[in-house]
């Protein structure tokens, strides 16, 4: 990566922006002294030396949040937008709360008349060139500019002249994932600071000055970092939009449910945005232990696999060498027949199974399949969790399955040589784990989240049945990520196809056996 | 001789039945358009000139419709009711004289289908039959609304038949005969019955409105309360028969009141002059004069009947329906005593005048 190209001037306090998870203040010598106090809106709060007024207010949730555009807790402080100004007693002018360190005995007013008047003025200035094309803009409904203008903005603009238009940058594709509309930009430069200090790729810059200030890519490599989606998350206006979500749905129609990303062993916390059980996007949720504020583009796009029409969501049975859709009971009955006559049975659990599923399969396999079985786990990307490595300084990992450590903990052993050996093999995976090697006559029963293409490209012709299973965001369970953090999740959407839980299938297999 | 009698009888029947049934579609059209005019509307004006073919379209529709019979209906009476409804007033029409006489082929033809001395009794008998289709239809179609309509209809017709009979009785005393021919002759010699006995005429007029179930006395049908009353379960041509029966009954009632109170077929003022003018113009003999007179007598009766038909329509679109207790009050507490007193007064008057 390019982090050795530039020596970046860092703020003295290293901020908590990434998976490195440094506590904000690790200096233990400070804690011995009595903590200083600051009064915000009539109430006194203790703080640690070095905190800015904004950080104190954030920590104690002083009534409503102080409005801000350029401030982001995981980025260096810029103090350019002037939206967060507060009144500090004995200070001649309003102070930007994001960059003013709190001092002992300081008295701050965040809602005084002077402050509100200042915010109105700032909003008026920010809106001079903002096109107000909210009906077209995808950010509408979750836009900070919209919200703050509604709360603090003037009812009439004093600006009578023609608005500035960037003709070349109205809908400029910065990369395959991100579109820029420079007209909407309020020049908070969060995106520039993100590429400078968080991803350390330095691929976005501001060019020109003043009226003509414009966001652009730094060089011919374009926008190339792996966290471009985060730009569209924290952009306070609709200047940077995520192409995959562009014009698909208005934000206010979306149901928002928390879940965990299963694209790699990091297990980023996400919010699943869906409408009528169709997922439209994932956005990251702050979790200091796991992912901070961020999420990689690969994980962000992973909902497409679930919503793929190629995904198998009804039970399939091999009928004269063609897969036909039937009822689950028929498939289970057929599978039972095959298992009864089989000489040896092998169960392969993908490391994308939840801890509960892996434990259940380990415990109940012998009972469910009628005879002793060998059960192993298979990852497909790495052998064991010891081999898991970071791909960059932030979040991305080598292991592309979410629960390798969790499955290992259940006591399962890895599949020897990654190769199937029994007469009949039951492969349970949820779309992330690799497919084990097999010979062309291997009898397999596929179970979990499968794609039609994957099934077609299997080296064997002896596919007995496909039992569809629920994907991560459709079920309940827990993952143990690469750092050993156990994360429990609940269904974010309701599955509308024929897929069922592992418990249901194991129950059906066990009954009437 | 007998051959001629048969022919002339058939001809008279054809004339009366043809005219009365032929008038029905015209009346249906007129009722609908007349209603429209009286209410400031246009009415049916799409089918044919002035919408005159509208009844034809209705007939086509009635014929094409499914001829259904409700479940659990008594099929015999269910089919019988509309037949009685149509045939009874047609029979009653047979004793209404529509002219004095005509001379055809040298033989005298009395312009009345059935010459009988007890003509008025015959009419009353058949008018009394009109209660049967209502009761039969209402009972046989196995529907609560129909039964309610039938009960209303029977009690109403029975109530008003009394005052109608009393009003008729007073005129019988005046005329001293049951024979309609002689009544008309009496009236053409003296005065119209309505001038002699205006109360009797009024009571009779009101009573025939009730007898024919026309507004304001159409309680057996009372759409707002009992849907369509006794003919609720009738569809297609069976309903059309009830529909036609209503108009034939109106024609019969109009002919009856014309004969009893308004001079029947006797020539209207000025018609006599017209007859003599035409006769002298074409140089008719005695036979010709008699026939021309007969034609004008027929026209005279038709115009009187036409007026009463118009009156039926006119009243219908002017007055709202009575409440049932009001109807009974009017019948028993007002019309019945009034007609009774009227009968006594007329009797006394006739006794003293004949002295």
């Amino acid at each position: 990566m390019s982090n050795n190209v530039h020596e970046i001037i860092k703020p003295k306090e290293d901020l908590n922006y990434s998976s490195e998870k440094k506590p904000i203040h690790s200096d233990s010598s400070v804690e011995a002294k009595p903590l200083p106090k600051v009064t915000i809106d009539g109430k006194t709060y203790e703080f640690k030396p070095g905190d800015t007024i904004m950080q104190v207010a954030e920590r104690y949730k002083v009534h409503e949040e102080i409005p801000r555009f350029c401030y982001h807790p995981a980025m260096p402080i810029a103090g350019t937008c002037r939206m967060c100004t507060v009144e500090v007693e004995k200070a001649p002018k309003l102070m930007t709360s994001c960059s003013t360190p709190a001092a002992d005995g300081m008295i701050v007013h965040t809602k005084s008349e002077k402050v509100l008047k200042s915010r109105t003025g700032v909003m008026d200035f920010l809106l001079t060139n903002h096109p107000l094309d909210c009906p077209v803009c995808d950010k509408a409904g979750e836009c900070e500019l919209q919200d703050y203008n509604f709360e603090y903005g003037p009812s009439h603009s004093n600006f009578k002249e023609e608005k500035r238009v960037y003709e070349d940058a109205t809908t400029k594709k910065l990369s395959d994932q991100v579109t820029l509309n420079m007209n909407r930009c309020v020049h908070c430069e969060r995106c520039v600071r993100f590429t400078d200090d968080v991803t350390k790729t330095n691929d976005l810059v501001m060019v020109n000055r003043g009226w003509h200030k414009e966001l652009d890519v730094a060089d011919e490599r374009g926008l190339f970092n792996d966290y471009q989606g985060c730009l569209t998350d924290f952009c306070p206006v609709g200047a940077l939009t995520w192409n995959d979500f562009r014009f698909k749905k208005r934000s206010w129609f979306l149901d928002k449910k928390a879940s965990v990303c299963d694209r790699c062993s990091k297990g980023c916390n996400i919010e699943v945005h869906s409408d009528r059980d169709v997922v439209y996007r994932y956005i990251p949720v702050y979790n200091e232990l796991v992912n901070g504020h961020w999420m990689c583009d690969e994980g962000r796009s992973s909902y497409n696999d679930l919503m793929d029409p190629q995904r198998i969501i009804s039970p399939l049975l091999n009928h004269n060498n063609s897969m036909t859709s039937t009822s689950l009971e028929t498939v289970i009955g057929e599978v039972k027949k095959v298992l009864k006559t089989a000489a040896s049975i092998q169960v392969v659990v993908g490391t994308d199974a939840t801890r509960e599923e892996a434990a259940l399969l380990k415990e109940k396999s012998t009972l469910a399949f009628g005879k002793p079985v060998t059960i192993n786990f298979y990852n497909g990307h790495i052998q064991t969790s010891q081999e898991d490595k970071k791909l960059d300084h932030m979040l991305r990992m080598t292991d592309k399955t979410p629960n390798t450590r969790g499955v290992e903990e259940t006591g399962l052993a890895p599949l020897p040589n990654g190769e199937l050996s029994s007469e009949v093999a039951i492969i349970f995976r949820n779309g992330r784990a690799g497919i084990p090697k097999m010979n062309p006559h291997q009898k397999v029963i596929l179970w979990g989240v499968w794609n039609i293409e994957e099934v077609k490209n299997l080296p064997t012709n002896n596919i007995i049945a496909v039992i569809p299973g629920l994907a991560t965001i459709e079920k309940e369970g827990s993952f143990k990520n690469t750092d050993g953090v156990v994360q429990k999740f609940h269904p974010a959407i309701q599955h509308r196809g024929g897929a069922v839980t592992v418990h249901h299938v194991v129950g059906l297999m066990t009954n009437n056996n | 001789m007998e051959y001629f009698d048969f022919i002339q009888l058939m001809a008279k029947i054809l004339l009366v039945v043809g005219v009365s049934l032929g008038v029905v579609p015209v009346m249906v059209w007129f009722e609908r358009r007349g209603a429209a005019w009286m209410q400031g509307r246009v009415g049916p004006n799409r089918v044919g000139p002035f919408g005159l073919l509208q009844p034809l379209a209705d007939v086509v529709k009635f014929i094409m419709k499914e001829d259904f019979v409700p479940k659990n209906a008594n099929k015999f009476y269910y089919y019988l009711a509309p037949l009685i409804a149509l045939i009874a007033p047609l029979c009653a029409l047979s004793v209404i004289p529509f002219g004095s006489k005509a001379i055809v082929n040298g033989q005298e033809v009395v312009l009345q289908i059935a010459q009988m001395d007890s003509g008025v009794i015959f009419i009353l008998a058949f008018a009394g039959l009109e209660v049967y289709p209502i009761i039969l239809a209402g009972w046989a179609s196995n529907n609560k609304y129909s039964v309610l309509g039938a009960l209303r209809g029977s009690s109403q017709i029975v109530s008003y038949e009394i005052s109608m009979g009393l009003a008729l009785l007073s005129m019988l005393i005046v005329y001293g005969t049951f024979n309609p021919h002689e009544m008309v002759a009496w009236q053409s010699e003296n005065y119209w019955g309505a001038l002699i006995n205006p109360f009797g005429a009024l009571v009779f007029l009101i009573s025939i409105f009730a007898e024919t179930n026309r507004l304001p006395f159409d309680l057996p049908e009372g759409e707002s309360e009992i849907v369509a009353g006794y003919h609720l379960e009738y569809g297609a041509m069976k309903f059309a028969l009830f529909f036609m029966a209503e108009y034939v009954a109106m024609i019969m009632a109009s002919a009856l009141i014309s004969t009893l109170f308004f001079g029947g077929y006797s020539l209207l003022p000025g018609m006599g002059t017209l007859v003599s003018m035409i006769s002298s113009q074409f140089g008719f003999g005695e036979v010709g004069v008699t026939n021309v007179t007969a034609v004008f007598q027929f026209i005279s009766l038709c115009s009187k009947v036409g007026f009463f038909m118009f009156l039926f329509v006119w009243i219908r679109w002017t007055l709202p329906r009575f409440r049932f207790d009001q109807l009974m009050d009017l019948g028993w507490k007002i019309l019945f005593p009034l007609s009774l007193i009227n009968l006594v007064v007329v009797t006394v008057m006739v006794y003293f005048l004949n002295q």
């Binding site: 096109p131 509408a140 014009f247 | 429209a36 400031g40 009243i315």
Partner: protein, 171 residues
Amino acid sequence: MGTINVSKKYTAKERAYLPAILIGMKITMKRFIEGFFFRKHFTILYPEKKRDYSDRFRGAHFISVDENKTENCTACFLCETVCPAECIHIVADEREEETNIYGVKKEKKPLSFDIDLLRCCFCGFCEEACPKDAIKLSTNYEMATYSRDEAIVDLDQLKRPMNGRHEKKDN
């Protein structure tokens, strides 16, 4: 509690009933003569003559177009959001060519815009919500169709030029 008797005593004239009937018959006869001889009526003979409704009448929808026959709609979904009957269904897409009066590229267009007239309650909220004055309710009240499918109108059927604030009529 208790009832108030609002009925009044009838006068002798009213109790006689017949004079009132005659007055009523006089009125209906007057109307009859007017209708029969002078052809006076209040009915609008519908298919030949049509009632002119006020411009504020809320009838069938249309989507206004600009001089290039491009719809003004930007697929902002506000009408779909506000619609209480949920009868509007929009699919949005990137608009490639057109620019607005300031020369700025229009970004978004409706790929499809369906209104289910059978679900619509003609409240006019969509017209009020529309930031581009694109969706409007016309004075057209003839929306009968032979099938339910025909009652779902799409963008091509909805697009119509504007005359001032209202739909441009042919005459």
